[in-house]
C-alpha cells in the first residue's frame, strides 16, 4: 500500500479539528505516525497550523451556509450562537459518504439534541427525516409548528409524490 500523498494528508487535516489540534501541538510527532515519503513529509511539516485552521473555518462556513438553508427556523432560534454551535459540532464531524446538506443538518440536530435541545425546531427535524426517508407517507407530532410567528402543537403529514417530491400538511391541535 502506497503512503499517502500531500493532498490526502492536507484533506485529513482540513476535515478534522482534533487532528489539527494535535498537529499544532507537535507537528513532527504527528507526521511521524503517517509513514510519509520524505518529500511529502517535508511539505506537511511545513504546513502552518494557523493557516490550516483558517482554511478549515472557510470550509466549515460553507457547510454552515448550506445547513442554514435547510434549517432556517433552528438557526433563527440559535440566533447569534448558531455559528458557534455549528462549529462545536462540525469541527469534529465531517460527513464521509453522504455530503448532502440534509445529512449534515440531521447530524447537527442530533448534536443539538444532546447538548441544547431547546435550540431545535421539532418541525424542521421531522421534515429533514421525511426528506431522508424513502417511505411514501410519514406522520409526526410537532410542538413548534410556526403559525403566524407563534409555535403551535400539531401533526405533520408528509406524502411523497410520484416524482419523488415531498408534500407537507399540518393539523394544528393546540
Amino acid at each position: 500500500m502506497s503512503s499517502p500523498d500531500a493532498i490526502t494528508v492536507t484533506a485529513w487535516l482540513l476535515r478534522d479539528g482534533r487532528l489539527r489540534d494535535a498537529f499544532a501541538a507537535d507537528r513532527k510527532a504527528m507526521v511521524a505516525t503517517w509513514g510519509l515519503d520524505p518529500e511529502v513529509r517535508r511539505l506537511v511539516e511545513d504546513l502552518d497550523p494557523q493557516q490550516l485552521e483558517t482554511q478549515a473555518v472557510v470550509l466549515l462556513r460553507k457547510r454552515f451556509h448550506r445547513v442554514r438553508r435547510v434549517l432556517p427556523i433552528t438557526t433563527r432560534r440559535l440566533a447569534g450562537e448558531a455559528w458557534v454551535w455549528f462549529q462545536r459540532y462540525a469541527r469534529f464531524c465531517w460527513p464521509m459518504d453522504d455530503t448532502s446538506a440534509v445529512t449534515d443538518a440531521e447530524a447537527f440536530c442530533a448534536f443539538l439534541q444532546q447538548r441544547y435541545p431547546a435550540g431545535i425546531s421539532t418541525a424542521e427535524v421531522n421534515r429533514l427525516q421525511a426528506c431522508a426517508a424513502s417511505c411514501w407517507i410519514r406522520i409526526r407530532w410537532a410542538k413548534d409548528l410556526p403559525v403566524a410567528k407563534i409555535d403551535r402543537r400539531g401533526v405533520q403529514v408528509f406524502v411523497r409524490g410520484l416524482r419523488g417530491n415531498l408534500h407537507e400538511w399540518w393539523v394544528i391541535v393546540g
Binding site: 499517502p4 500523498d5 500531500a6 493532498i7 490526502t8 492536507t10 484533506a11 485529513w12 482540513l14 476535515r15 518529500e39 517535508r42 511539505l43 511545513d46 504546513l47 502552518d48 493557516q51 490550516l52 483558517t54 482554511q55 472557510v58 470550509l59 460553507k62 457547510r63 448550506r66 465531517w94 464521509m96 455530503t99
Partner: protein, 288 residues
C-alpha cells in the same frame, strides 16, 4: 488574435459578461447592455444538460462553462461519471472554452466541498497537467485554469506564477485569472501582486474574473458579495497591460443588487475594455 489565444486555439472575443446565477435571471432576460457573454457553472446543469433554458442561453449569449468540482489537483483518475456529466453540459452549451481550478476539492474519500490549494511541486504539476489534458480531450474544448484564493499555503519549490506557466505549457491550456483572488492572496500573505504578474506568462491569460472582496476578522475574504472595488479594477488593468485578455466576467454570487447597480458594475468592466480595446460600434455583436 493574441499569442495566448492562438496557443490554446480560441478565437478572439473581447467580451464582458457575468456569471449566470438564478437571482440574476430577470436581469439577464432584459439583455442588458454590456452583458455579451455568460459563464455557467457546469454542476448546476448536471441534472438537466439539455434543458430549454440552456438552449435559450446559448441562442442569446456566448457561453463559457466553468467547473467547480472536477478536483483536477487530486492524484488518481478523474471520476468518469462526473467527467461525462461535465462533457454533456459542454456539448449542450457549446462554449468558446471551458474552465476549472488549480485546486482540489476531494481526496482520500473526503469531499471538502470547497477549493483547496495544491503543493507547488513537479509531481502536483504533472497531476494537474494530465487531468487538464484529459478534460480538454473529453470535452473537445480549450481549457482555462483558474487561480484560487486560499488562507493555506503549501510549499513545493516552485513559485505560483512559475507553477502556472509550466502547467499551461504542459497541459496546452490557458489561464482564467481571478483578479480578486490574486488581490486577496497578496494582501493576506504579504506579497506584491505586480511582481506576481510580472513572473506570469501574461499571454496565457484569456479571461478574468472580477468581484468585490470582503474584510472579515482583519483578513480579506472572497465573499463574492460586494461591488468591485477600485483597487481590483486597478489590478485588472495591470493584467490587461501584460497580455491579451479576451473576456472579463463579473463573478457575483451573493447579495445581488438591483438592475441599476448591476448595470453600474457591468459598466466598470466595459470601461476597462475601453482603455485597451476601442470598440467599433458595428462590431457590438459577439463572434459566435
Amino acid at each position: 488574435m493574441g499569442a495566448g489565444a492562438a496557443a490554446v486555439g480560441v478565437e478572439a472575443t473581447e467580451m464582458v459578461g457575468l456569471g449566470y446565477r438564478r437571482p440574476l435571471v430577470d436581469f439577464i432576460k432584459t439583455r442588458p447592455a454590456g452583458v455579451e457573454c455568460l459563464e455557467i457553472t457546469a454542476e448546476h446543469f448536471f441534472d438537466q444538460p439539455r434543458s430549454t433554458m440552456l438552449a435559450e442561453l446559448r441562442r442569446d449569449f456566448q457561453l463559457f462553462v466553468h467547473g467547480l468540482g472536477m478536483s483536477l489537483g487530486t492524484p488518481g483518475p478523474l471520476a468518469p461519471p462526473q467527467l461525462e456529466r461535465f462533457a454533456q453540459v459542454v456539448r449542450a452549451a457549446d462554449p468558446a472554452w471551458i474552465s476549472e481550478h488549480v485546486a482540489f476539492t476531494r481526496a482520500g474519500g473526503i469531499d471538502l466541498g470547497h477549493l483547496n490549494p495544491v503543493p507547488l511541486t513537479l509531481a502536483s504539476l504533472q497531476v494537474l497537467a494530465d487531468h487538464a489534458r484529459e478534460l480538454q480531450d473529453h470535452c473537445q474544448k480549450p481549457l482555462l485554469l483558474e487561480n484560487i484564493t486560499s488562507h493555506l499555503r503549501l510549499g513545493g519549490g516552485l513559485s505560483e506564477p512559475e507553477f502556472l506557466n509550466r502547467l499551461c505549457e504542459r497541459a496546452g491550456c490557458g489561464l482564467l485569472l481571478d483578479v480578486t483572488n490574486l488581490f486577496i492572496n497578496s494582501r493576506n500573505h504579504g506579497y506584491d501582486p505586480l511582481a506576481w504578474l510580472d513572473a506570469l506568462d501574461g499571454g496565457r491569460v484569456l479571461q478574468m474574473h472580477l468581484v468585490g472582496y470582503a474584510v472579515e476578522a482583519g483578513r480579506l475574504a472572497d465573499s463574492h458579495a460586494s461591488p468591485v472595488q477600485s483597487e481590483i479594477i486597478d489590478l485588472a488593468r495591470e493584467v490587461m497591460k501584460r497580455g491579451r485578455v479576451q473576456a472579463i466576467l463579473l463573478e457575483r454570487d451573493e447579495c445581488f443588487p438591483g438592475p441599476t447597480e448591476m448595470a453600474a458594475e457591468m459598466a466598470k468592466l466595459r470601461r476597462l475594455w475601453a482603455e485597451f480595446a476601442p470598440r467599433d460600434e458595428h462590431l457590438e455583436q459577439p463572434m459566435r
